[in-house]
Symmetry: C2
Subunit: 215 residues, 2 copies
């Protein structure tokens, strides 16, 4: 599968690109700065996990079976608005959490209640948005030797986006669970602040969520 990672030069992008490349997918890192994306792609490709290319955000989406959005929340709305046309007809995996520094350990509801709901509203129903991967530590992702832990909750209003995302989560070595309608991204995004609080409060790094009672 061809996967574009927008904001792909960030921390999450690194681990996702390497793990999906290793699983046999073709990865294109997108960035506002095409040169930076190409240079990062070259660096990651040299690790020998698989094919990773880079380019500007629009060209990165060319031919992508899935477009993962991994940008800081303040850049999220503008990026999607700019890419509206390029993203039409595509499956979008939105992993954005609307954190508001410095209070990242307290829930902050954005104007649309969830970044993923805002994405779907901006893009219209021609794009199929799934929200996922909010609770996976970027440090764990980037540490390829480390087995991943925790479940990934996936919410979407579209079956194709949900199923494709759950499959890609499996390729990361994690269990993806159907978490219902895209509205439920409100809970998934907000829970990230709870996990950040737990990390600090209990002196751990990368607390995650497991769903008990589902075999």
């Amino acid at each position: 599968m061809q996967i574009a990672i927008l904001g792909g030069t960030g921390r999450e992008g690194r681990g996702l690109a390497l793990r999906w490349a290793k699983a046999g997918h073709s990865i294109v890192l997108g960035s506002r700065d095409a040169e930076r994306a190409r240079s990062r792609a070259q660096e990651l490709s040299s690790l020998g996990q698989g094919t990773i290319r880079g380019g500007d955000n629009v060209s990165a989406t060319d031919g992508a079976d899935a477009v993962l959005v991994s940008v800081p929340y303040p850049a999220h709305g503008d990026l999607l608005t700019e890419l509206r046309q390029a993203l039409d007809g595509r499956i979008i995996i939105d992993i954005t959490v609307p954190l508001t520094p410095p209070k990242v350990r307290e829930v902050h509801l954005p104007p649309g209640n969830a970044a993923a709901l805002e994405a779907q509203a901006i893009l219209g129903t021609g794009a199929h948005v799934a929200a996922a991967l909010h609770h996976i530590s970027s440090t764990h992702l980037a540490d390829l030797g480390r087995p991943m832990e925790g479940d990934v909750l996936v919410s979407s209003d579209f079956d194709d986006a949900r199923e494709l995302t759950i499959g890609l989560v499996r390729d990361l070595g994690l269990r993806g669970l159907d978490a219902g309608a895209l509205r439920n991204a409100v809970a998934l995004e907000a829970m990230t602040s709870v996990l950040l609080h737990i990390n600090k409060r209990y002196g751990v790094e990368g607390a995650g969520i497991r769903i008990a009672g589902v075999a």
Copy 2:
């Protein structure tokens, strides 16, 4: 400890009363219908787990070290407004989830974003509200022979309310974790709809949450 359970004749009230009575606490079930509360208390007492009394909601709060609020969301605001005076100076454990039937498997944010935030706003800072126990199935609670599973996330703006609640959660045989400020009840309450979706989607009963990465 003396624990009042308002709305104590409901499903959650039954299991909580029996498990806390068994742990040695003194329980008072409160209800709008004092006769119903007394009759339910007598029934539960007859199971021989410990002392359980009943009465109207106001008298149930007399001398309570903790007051648990377990009423359907549509009754929540009115009950707290009526009991404002009786609850002043007390620790409140609010387990309310603002579900809106028939769409209980989709997140619904109430006007104050969380029932527990609404409770704290109604009661003022003389009452110390903790939000907890949203993810524990009432069926599991009521089945005394069954070991409880899952973690209980506790959010509060007051240390005394948080610590007391975490202690009472331990007495149920569960791990209570500090989930941060009361604002974070937005995530805890909303996650309940995700769990209800998962129950239906995967054909299970009582899916819960475990926090991975915290020993």
